[in-house]
Amino acid sequence: MQHRIPVETLGKEGEVMAHAIEACVHCGFCLPTCPTYVVLQEEMDSPRGRIFLMKEVLEGNLPLEEALPYLDRCLACQACVTACPSGVPYGELIAAFRLHTEEKRHRYPLERAFRLALLRTLPHPERFRPLAALGVGLKPLLKPLPLPKALRAPLELLPERLPKEAPYPEVYPAKGERKARVGLLLGCAQRVLRPSINEATLRVLQENGVEVVLLREQACCGALNLHAGDKEGARALARQNLKAFREVEYVVTNAAGCGSGMKEYPLLFLGEPEEEEARRLAAKVKDLTVILEALGFTPPPPPPRPLRVAYHDACHLAHAQGVREAPRRLLKAAGVEVLEPKEWELCCGSAGTYNLFQPEIAAALGQRKAANLKATGAELVVTGNIGCLTQIQAHLDLPVLHTAELLALLYAGKDPLLETLA
C-alpha cells in the first residue's frame, strides 16, 4: 500500500513501520482470524483497518487519540501474521507503533496510575505476590459488590488460593546422560499464580536428559512493558536478561508470551548498542516443546487409561513463534489422543493484560474458545501458556493444564484426570 510517512524523521522504528505498511496489499485475508474483527465485524477493529489507521496517524492525517481506541483493542495475538500471504510483519508494526506513541498519548490520571501500578508490580514477583495474596483473600468479600469492570476481571482470574512456591536450587541435574545445559526463564506472574508449571517444566527437562540452571540474576521478560509501550521499563528488564543468560546454550521458556517477548528484544534495541547481543539471545530462546523435540524426546509411560486431550494453540506460540506441531507431536508420543478445536487460530482473549482493559471482548472470546474446546469432546485441555490457561479455565468446566504439567503427571505415573479432579 502506498504511504507518505516521513520515514526519515522516525528513526529505525519508522523504517520497520513503513516496511510493514508498504507490504500490506489490503486483501483482507487476515480478517477472519482476527479476534476483534470476529467479535466486532468492523473494519477499524481488523488488522487491515489498524494498519490503515497507523498509516494515517504516521502520515499526520489523523490525530493519534482518534485511532487509539481501535489500536488499543488489538491483542497483539499475531493471528494476522500467520494469515497474511503478503508477509506483513504486523507484530513488529504494532509493537513499534506503541513504543513510538506511548509518550505522545494522553491518559487519564486514574488509568495512568493503574497502568503504572501494573507495570511496576506484575513483572516483579516479590511485589506481585503480596498483592495477589491480598486479592485472593478479599475475593469472597468483594465478589458480591458492584465493582468496576477493570477490577472485577482480574479478580475473577485469581485462583481460590495462592499456592506456595518452594525455593529453587540453582542446578537441576539431568537424569541419565546429559544432552544439554539450559537456562530456564522463570517468568513473573506465573511463578506466583501457578508455580507448578515451572516445577513440572524442570521435571520434564530432567527426564529428558537436560540440565537446568536457574540463574538468579534473571528478570521478567519485559513483554508486558514492551506491549504497553513502556520502552524504558522493558529495556531495563531485557538488559538484565541479556546479562543473565549470556553463558547458557539455550534459554527455555514455558510461557508463550515470554518466549515471544524475548524474541522481540532485537526490536526493542533497534539501533542501540545492545542490538547485536539481543539478536544472539533471541536465537537461543526456545519453547519447552521445541527443545524437547530438538534434543530427542523420551516419552513418559502412557496414561493409565485412554485420555482425550484438546490442544489449545497459544497465540504467542502458534502465531508469534510458529510453534504448532511440536507440542502436538510430544503429546501424541506420550500416548494421549490429541483433538483439534475449531478456529484454532482465534485468540482466547487472554493476551497479557488484555482482559483487564477490554473485559467485554475478552469474555466474548473466552466463551467462544471454551465452547470450541468443549465441542471436541475432550476430557482435558492442554496449552502452553499460563494466560490462556487461566482465561480458558474461567469459561470452561474441564480441567486445563499446561503441556508441561500434563507431561510431568505422566512421568510420575499418575492419572491426570484423577489428579485434576482432586
Binding site: V25, C27, G28, P32, Q41, E42, M44, G49, P63
Partner: protein, 461 residues
C-alpha cells in the same frame, strides 16, 4: 430532520460511524489506488435496517454503496464521496440450511467459505470458490458474479444463486427467483447477479449446494515456458476431459506463493495445476488419460497429490498468490480479462512483450481452463509516473483481450477501474440499454453511483 439525524434515529451510536478514525478504514477496497471518504458508515444487523437506510438515502438523495468485506479488486466497494456505506458484515447468519432441498438461505454478509463449512456435515458444499473465499461475502460474490478455480464445470456465482431478496434503490423489497433449480418466468435473480450493486442491495440469498466430489486427482506439472503450459491446456480440453480446475502460475507468481505458504512447488517458468474430481472410478479413468497426455507434453516435472494434505498445500499456494505478490512489489494492479482458450498462448506472449516494452514486471496466475487471465502488473507508486505507466500497460492488456474476442473481466467486475474501457467491449446501444435499466430502477442514480457505466453513456449531467 437532516439525513444524519434521521440516520441516528435508526442506528445506535456503535453502529453509525461518522468519526474520522471510523471512516478512514472504509475508504477503499483491495484496490487501494482509489480512495474516497464517505459521509457515514452504518452497520445494520437486520435486513429491515438495510431497507430503512436505503429508503432514507432515497428520500434525501444520498448515494450509497453496499459493502461486504471490501475485497473487490476493481474499486467496486469504493465509497461515494459524501455518500453512505452500508457495511453488511454483521448480517452474517446462515438462516437455513436444508440438505433435503440442497439449499442454504443466507444473509449477504456471510463469508463464502462459511457456507461450505456449514454444509460439510451433510456431504454438501457451495461450489464457487474465489481465492478470496475465506473472507469475501456472498453479497459481494453476488454483485460481481464471482468465480474461482473450480468454475470450469459448475459455473460461477450466478449458476448457484436460486433466489434473492433485494431492496431496490427506491426502497422497494422484492423477491426474485425461489428455492428450486427451476422456476418459471424471467430469470430476474440471474440478471441481478453481476450487476455490481447498481440495481439494489441483496438482503437474503438462496444458494444451491452440491454433493462434495467423492474423489480428487490433483496434478502439478512444471514447464519451461508459459506457452508450453498453455498449450497443454488446449490439449486437455481437446482430449475431451473436463477437469474441475485448470490453473497456471508463472515464475514470479510461483516465487511469491512459495515464499508465502511454502507449498513446495517446483521451481519452473510455469506451473500447471489440473484437478479431476468425481466418482472414484471415473476419476481413475480420467487420470489415466491425463497422465498420458501430460507425459507427452514436455513437462519437466510432474507431481500428483497423494493425500488431502498435499492437495490442500497445492491449492493454498495458488489461492494465496495474489496477496503474496505483495512480497515482490509494494503495489500492483490485477487485471482479469478473458480470451478464447485457443488464444491463450498468443495472449501470454503478447503480455510478455508489453511487460518488456513498459519496463514493468507482470506476474501471471490464472484460470487457464476458462481463458481467464490474471496478469498482475507490478509497480512502485513512490516512483513518479509508475502508476500511470502501470495503468497504461493494464489498459493495453484489456484491449488485447477484447481484440482476441474475449472480455474485460471474467470475475472481478468493472467497478470504477475498468469502466472507461466499457465502450471498447460494448457498443453505444448496449451501454445505453444498461443505462436505461439503471435509470428505471434507480432514477436518482444512488446505488453505487459512478461504477460500471462509463460517463460517455450517461449522457446527462
Amino acid at each position: 430532520m437532516g439525513f444524519l439525524e434521521e440516520l441516528r434515529a435508526l442506528f445506535p451510536p456503535g453502529r453509525l460511524l461518522t468519526k474520522e478514525a471510523e471512516l478512514a478504514p472504509y475508504e477503499s477496497d483491495a484496490l487501494t489506488a482509489y480512495r474516497k471518504r464517505p459521509l457515514a458508515v452504518v452497520l445494520p444487523q437486520r435486513k429491515e435496517e438495510v431497507v430503512e437506510a436505503v429508503r432514507l438515502c432515497h428520500r434525501h438523495g444520498v448515494p450509497f454503496v453496499a459493502r461486504g468485506s471490501g475485497t473487490s479488486l476493481s474499486g467496486g466497494s469504493l465509497p461515494v464521496e459524501g455518500g453512505l456505506v452500508i457495511a453488511l458484515n454483521r448480517m452474517n447468519r446462515i438462516l437455513r440450511l436444508d440438505p433435503k432441498a440442497r439449499i442454504a438461505v443466507v444473509e449477504p454478509g456471510v463469508v463464502n467459505l462459511e457456507v461450505s463449512r456449514a454444509a460439510a456435515p451433510y456431504g454438501l458444499y457451495y461450489a464457487p470458490d474465489p481465492s478470496s473465499q475465506p473472507i469475501s461475502t456472498i453479497g459481494g460474490n453476488v454483485a460481481f458474479n464471482s468465480g474461482g478455480a473450480h468454475c470450469l464445470k459448475y459455473g460461477m456465482t450466478a449458476n448457484h444463486v436460486l433466489g434473492l431478496e433485494v431492496v431496490t434503490p427506491e426502497g422497494e423489497v422484492v423477491r426474485l427467483g425461489g428455492e428450486g433449480l427451476e422456476g418459471v418466468g424471467p430469470d430476474l435473480h440471474g440478471f441481478f447477479v453481476g450487476t455490481e450493486g447498481l440495481l439494489g442491495v441483496a438482503l437474503e440469498v438462496t444458494l444451491r449446494l452440491l454433493p462434495k466430489p467423492e474423489a480428487y486427482h490433483t496434478l502439478l506439472a512444471a514447464y519451461g515456458s508459459l506457452e508450453a503450459a498453455g498449450e497443454t491446456v488446449s490439449r486437455i480440453l481437446r482430449q475431451g476431459l473436463l477437469p474441475g480446475a485448470i490453473e497456471i502460475m508463472d515464475r514470479l507468481a510461483i516465487e511469491a506463493a512459495e515464499a508465502a505458504v511454502k507449498a513446495g512447488y517446483p521451481r519452473a517458468e510455469a506451473l500447471l495445476i489440473v484437478e479431476l474430481e468425481g466418482p472414484r472410478e471415473e476419476v481413475a479413468e480420467e487420470a489415466r488419460v491425463l497422465e498420458a497426455l501430460i507425459r507427452e507434453s514436455g513437462a519437466q516435472e510432474v507431481r500428483v497429490a497423494r493425500d488431502e494434505a498435499e492437495r490442500q498445500a497445492i491449492w493454498k499456494g495458488r489461492k494465496a498468490a495474489f496477496s503474496a505478490v505483495g512480497r515482490l512489489s509494494p503495489d500492483y494492479i490485477v487485471q482479469d480479462g478473458v480470451v478464447p482458450r485457443s488464444r491463450l498462448a498468443e495472449a501470454l506472449r503478447e503480455i510478455g512483450r508489453l511487460s518488456q516494452a513498459y519496463g514493468l514486471r507482470v506476474a501471471n496466475v490464472f484460470h487457464a481452463g476458462d481463458g481467464n487471465l490474471h496478469p498482475l502488473v507490478l509497480y512502485d507508486g513512490k516512483k513518479p509516473g509508475e502508476l500511470e505507466r502501470a495503468e497504461a500497460l493494464a489498459g493495453e492488456i484489456l484491449r488485447l483481450c477484447i481484440q482476441l474476442g474475449g472480455s474485460l473481466t471474467g470475475e472481478h467486475g468493472i467497478g470504477v477501474e475498468k469502466k472507461a474501457y466499457m465502450p471498447e467491449m460494448f457498443a453505444k446501444e448496449d451501454l445505453e440499454a444498461m443505462e436505461r435499466v439503471k435509470r428505471a430502477l434507480d432514477p436518482k442514480g444512488l446505488a453505487n453511483r459512478g461504477k460500471v457505466l462509463p460517463e460517455v453513456a450517461h449522457g446527462r449531467g
